[in-house]
Symmetry: C3
Subunit: 351 residues, 3 copies
């Protein structure tokens, strides 16, 4: 898709300075500008770049007055950053709108209900009693099991797999390879050393506005539900076990995993590769540093780090001492020598 400077200016209520016929088909950072792309200048710290950028168009604030010649076409707007953000949103919408209608072949059970403005890509499989809400986009090769409810304006990218009975809210985005509702990892040990599968008959509930990255796995509840509350964002390759609950607006980075029945509060931030044991309660506003191993429940507002995880101040203090352990060891050896010679002196003195 190509856009002309005058059309962009008109959309943004902006004013063109320079060649209004210049066209762009993408965006770039002003400091890495490429011909055919649009950049923005909001932070005055970056002003120097505008005089040399190869970007074809630069959005600037109306107050901007160039100190020397600018090669690029300028579009002056009230707030260059906001204008840029709204262009990006527009671009994303335009891009999504290339996917419409129902491709062929698809496999949609006769009992499924598909609302208006839904996109269903080729080779999608949609089961019994499924409901897909208005405006949702189901990409090719997606699987939706029986009795699944999908809200409005969701995007399931290619190859997403959703097991039976899952409930997906509005405005959810699931990236390719993500699996929703696989069986919890539950087996009863038998006397002969084998394991008997414990039936996993619960489901997964995703509330509104949840986004989940690529190749993440969220198991269903053993009974009851695994729940991801509204606004939560989960990255790639994350493992959420049976009956976990993730609170509103909690953000979980890549490759983090948690064992069964752990409840996480609202507005938490977990960095990458964190591990949490099962049956924990993590409060609201908790932050967990990368690669931490959490084996105990955590109260509201705590920031923890390390494996096993402790308060981050304590963790940093301990790290500092650990890094200096070789020196500490030497000091101890020196002390041993000193004490030895003091003992010798004492013994000599007491003779």
């Amino acid at each position: 898709m190509e856009f002309k400077a005058t059309d962009i200016a008109s959309f943004l209520n902006g004013e063109v300075v320079g060649d209004g016929n210049v066209k762009v088909s993408g965006v770039s950072k002003i400091e890495e500008g490429q011909p055919g792309t649009l950049s923005f200048l909001a932070n005055p710290k970056y002003e120097n770049y505008i005089y040399n950028t190869s970007s074809s168009i630069v959005l600037v604030n109306r107050t901007f007055k160039p100190k020397s010649e600018v090669k690029a076409t300028l579009i002056k707007v009230d707030d260059a950053y906001q204008a840029f953000a709204s262009l990006l949103d527009l671009y994303m919408q335009a891009k999504q709108n290339t996917r419409k209608g129902i491709e062929s072949p698809v496999s949609i059970h006769e009992t499924a209900t598909i609302e208006t403005d839904v996109y269903i890509g080729a080779f999608a499989s949609i089961g019994r009693n499924v409901k897909v809400g208005k405006g949702s986009k189901i990409f090719p090769q997606v699987f939706i099991g029986d009795n699944v409810s999908v809200g409005e304006n969701c995007i399931f990218y290619a190859g997403v797999k959703v097991y039976d009975d899952s409930v997906i809210g509005n405005d959810c985005i699931l990236h390719s390879g993500t699996v929703i509702g696989s069986d919890g990892f539950g087996f009863a040990p038998q006397e002969d050393g084998t394991y008997k599968k414990i039936p996993q008959i619960g489901n997964v509930i995703l509330e509104d506005n949840v986004e989940i990255g690529a190749n993440t796995a969220i198991d269903c509840g053993t009974f009851g539900s695994t729940i991801i509350r509204k606004g939560a964002k989960i990255d790639n390759l994350v493992q959420i076990a049976h009956n976990c609950e993730i609170g509103e607006n909690t953000v979980i980075a890549g490759q983090t995993g948690m064992a069964g029945t752990t409840k996480v509060g609202k507005n938490c931030k977990f960095a990458g590769q964190v591990g949490l044991a099962g049956h924990l309660t993590i409060g609201n506003n908790v932050q967990i540093g990368a690669q931490s191993g959490v084996s105990k429940s955590i109260k509201d507002n705590e920031i923890v780090l390390s494996s096993p995880a402790v308060n981050y101040r304590e963790a940093i203090k301990t790290y500092t001492i650990i890094r200096n352990l070789p020196k500490l060891r030497e000091e101890l050896i020196q002390l041993q020598k000193d004490v030895e010679s003091l003992k010798l002196a004492k013994n000599a003195g007491s003779k």
Copy 2:
């Protein structure tokens, strides 16, 4: 699916106390009971819940005598827990049985052999000389490469990918997104710094009764086989490299990974996010704590923890000291002062 109290009682050889016409469509824990669900009471510790539960039906032992009024319909059976478990099994079977026959379109090579009572979902691709045993269920969008043998009563959930030459036993369950038989990660370094791919011509063998979670990857042998022995259970997002062997009834939790040619014994339990180096031998009945890093072989019956992993008692002892390092450091500083003043005193005394 809805079930009436009298029908459930008749299936369980149980006795209804209360309204036999009550219907349930799911189960819940007695302490979290919901109308329209069935619970059980086996452990007397939970007895108090029965007087307030909102569950519509509760399974109880024949010996149970309520101390006050119970709102729910009771079904009295010989063993409430066993009865509940058998109901769950029945429920799961009923659910599986909704998937039957061969959907359309599928791509099945003319040389493939599909036994009776097999379900094959839409958009499944089944290669040359494949055998699928009696009663197995191949969900939509599954890929089965050439020369793969699949036993009886297996379930491959939607989107499972099985590379050429894999051998899958009876009663195996593979969850969505799992990949069986991808190439081992083997490259020969060349003089110019590039790598030449080492052909990976082995396969993967899964013995009977193996269950593998979602988005797990099991590489084929470089030559020979990567083998998962009977009854082993592997969770989500696990990495098993080329030529590994996992022993009978060994259980591996989510996001654990192991490098090539490591052999794991029987009846082991690995917690989540464990890493094992290549070419190790792990004995029988070994337990490995979460996030441990195993760089050496481990003998039978050992319990290890930490990274690098050591005996768990040693690991816990070391953790305790590490947590107290700030205090230890202060004690050392105090000692240095004491020794310094003793030295001063000695020197003063010897003048």
Copy 3:
């Protein structure tokens, strides 16, 4: 596929010693030889095995003179190891060549360009303006989004998902379940605690000769590109975030993850389960030990280990002290006692 000893010898310019009519259908290590397989003997250390191996054919150097009777058919060649490697290559090519042409049904947009000798498996979905280069193999159930360019002689195994605008070089191999170009994990915090998605409009570029394992996720750039340079090899279940760059011939083992905008140099080697923070610069020839946590940039040629990662010599030194902390603690307690009795003696002496 079966091959006769005389045919193999003729392909390798080798000389048959023994029964030239023996056939093999696979390979095995000489020490684990099976009837119907071919082995090789290159390293004299393994010579003893040749007298008892059950392999049907063994490749040996022309200089090899058996010390006693050998049951297997020998094929004498200039370099047994090289000959074996070239047989494996031939075997792999023969195997790949069973997949040809365009299966049915597939979904290929009318604007896509498919060059000659391309294999496209059933249920593949190929978008607008896609180019697939000569000789590439697109397995069943692969998804290729709009405007993607795929070079020559690539292999995308079953179920690979490639998002819009990705650029894939020549001779790339992507294993099943791998996702290329999913959205970067970028959200702007709002005043009410919710997050607003930051549009991810960049792409992923894979240069030539890149191999990526199963179930790996590589996010697109937020703007600009996430780049995997030529010859890089990435294992299973790896997470590469938005705008990362992986240098030429760098090798990354399973379950490693890196946060956004981290740049990795050439010829690096990362072991498994490594984590890297965002916005780091990792030099050339850097080696990172398994499970390390990298929070700072690393210079060329460094070898690091541990979490947080430090120079490996320092890490090993620190580990050794940590393992001996219980002993160090005891020594400290002994010192405290010694000092206490010295103080008592001093006080007694000074009375």
